[in-house]
Symmetry: C2
Subunit: 346 residues, 2 copies
């Protein structure tokens, strides 16, 4: 009833051979008689032997484990990324240790500490909103620890990262709204200390400029929280205060887009005919809200998978640090649904 795992020594004792022989037999090393191999493997099976990964880690100074640090697990985008990470890691024989920072810097730092203690082979990181200074990461990089950043990437020289083309995504979304005949387009932006927010805002304003629509500062509003409630309030206020009223909303995330959409409906405007709405991320619910929400899709699974491939190649020295492109930019895709397409009169 105890949970005693059989070890190599146990097999050795039973078979009256040395543990080195057992070790070699189990790994099909050359120079071991087939007879011995057979016996050893049989006994291993019988004793239900399982190699002790901890001992192996100690020996090799490698844990075959990677650490993932993200702001939140309960978040459609991040959970998708995790899924990609887990898939690739598993298929390449690595474990995934997960921590969420809940957007707290202290938590981020202490997570790094425990992971270092656990002799993690490398890090996958999307940092917290509180993080504005990156020395705790650059120190690690200097010491030679592999880190691949994704989504939220720091301004560190040569930090490897995987992101999506936020600029192009935002540009396309804005262009699409313009082509639908909307011209007073509000951008509900994200926190301006995140690069993704800045890129999306840039895409928005460039698209306006390229289509001859003046950029108006009062139409670019920062939503720090990114919740639907916040966006709802802001939108309601904008609809009342601005004149002429806005005729479209491009939100930096889907939840905010839905909040805006609901505010428009509540104020008596028809979406999409009177007001168009586009979100960003393509969360699950985009297709089930009414009207269904157009959104810029960023493939979280692929972000996670790509980041993990790079990290593991790096860990396994399959690639030299110098050969890695410091920045992998994945394409986004605008998914046009009902919320942004004006219905033709029949």
């Amino acid at each position: 009833m105890k949970l005693e795992q059989a070890t190599i020594k146990d097999i050795a004792r039973e078979l009256q051979v040395s543990s080195s022989t057992v070790s070699r037999a189990l790994k099909d090393y050359p120079g071991i008689s087939d007879e011995t191999k057979r016996k050893v493997k049989e006994m291993a099976e019988k004793l239900n032997y399982r190699p002790n990964a901890i001992a192996l880690s100690l020996r090799k100074s490698r844990s075959f484990t990677i650490g993932v640090i993200i702001p939140e697990v309960v978040h459609f985008f991040f959970s998708t990324v995790i899924s990609g990470i887990e898939e690739v890691a598993f298929s390449r024989g690595y474990n995934v240790i997960l921590t969420q920072t809940n957007e707290k810097l202290t938590r981020e730092k202490s997570s790094i500490d425990t992971m270092l203690s656990n002799q993690i082979d490398g890090f996958l990181v999307s940092y917290s909103k509180e993080t504005t200074e990156f020395s705790h990461f650059s120190k690690l990089l200097d010491q030679g620890y592999p880190i691949v950043f994704f989504d939220r990437v720091p301004e560190i020289q040569n930090a490897i990262h995987v992101i999506v083309d936020d600029y192009a995504g935002a540009y396309e979304a804005t262009k699409h709204l313009i082509q639908q005949g909307f011209s007073r387009i509000v951008h509900l932006a994200g926190p301006s200390n995140l690069k993704i927010s800045k890129e999306r805002s840039r895409g928005y304003s460039d698209a306006l400029r390229d289509h001859g629509i003046p950029f108006l500062p009062e139409l670019l509003v920062e939503c720090t929280q990114g919740t639907d409630e916040e966006a709802h309030k802001i939108t309601t206020k904008l609809l009342q205060s601005l004149s002429p009223r806005p005729d479209a909303f491009f939100a930096n995330n889907d939840l905010a887009a839905v909040g805006a959409m609901m505010a428009c409906k509540a104020a008596g405007y028809a979406v999409p005919n009177e007001i168009g709405v586009v979100g960003f991320s393509n969360w699950q619910f985009c297709s089930i809200v009414d009207p269904s929400l157009s959104s810029v899709a960023q493939n979280g699974f692929r972000i996670g998978a790509t980041a993990t491939e790079i990290l593991l190649d790096w860990i396994e020295k399959k690639i030299n640090l110098e050969d890695i492109q410091t920045s992998v930019v994945l394409a986004t895709e605008l998914l046009v649904r009902k919320s942004s397409v004006r219905i033709q009169n029949t």
Copy 2:
């Protein structure tokens, strides 16, 4: 530029003392002079010493890591559970290793194997849909490995598990619909091999019976997939084929509920006035669909947190196996929104 971690030996060498002294000084053991303690700690700081958790694990045959096996990460409910797990584990000094089975039995088994290899201290499991036979779990339990099941729990004697009161939740939801004046209530049920589905169906039929409404087999329909598309199709068909038509839908999950709701709207019926809808799980999107979806909330965070508390207490022998209630049942809460409440005529 190498990633050489300082060890106890390094500190010892620098200070010309033995490594045991260092070890003891670092842990504030009694019988070490304050002077030595101070010096050791200083040097530890200076060399940026970090205890090697791997070596510790080997020594103590304890890894301070728990393994989580779930069907899918990209799933609102499960991600909430993970969040609860991670929170408690972190606060008690444990790491979380995560794998998803993608509902595959083979993956479930191989995950267990790698986790065992990694000398995991215990398991938190919600098994895959493919799993119909539980010997791979009961074997572990017999060997003394702590396992706490949640959400999907196996029919193993004395297996510890944390679940929500599916029966009561379904009962309340159905009763609520009845009280709103609905009487031809369809139940879109889940796969019948999962206990949660069975419990929810039982709650549904008992509520009908207790309120004098006959249970009609044709109103209990199994949705094996649980997707909105599937529910949409089924609902459309039911609305056409049944006479008199159903006047309410209680779905075993929210996605199906939304599918049903959209089918009703597409068929020209008003929700909630002509047809009421209630879901189960209280996914994020419940409040943002139109009309907002009434749903039975199951607190995933609390499920994860509770399961983890039990597991860690068990691991740390704070509780005897005999003293653990084999089954912890958390309450559900019916959240009434618009989709099920008939609007009063003014």
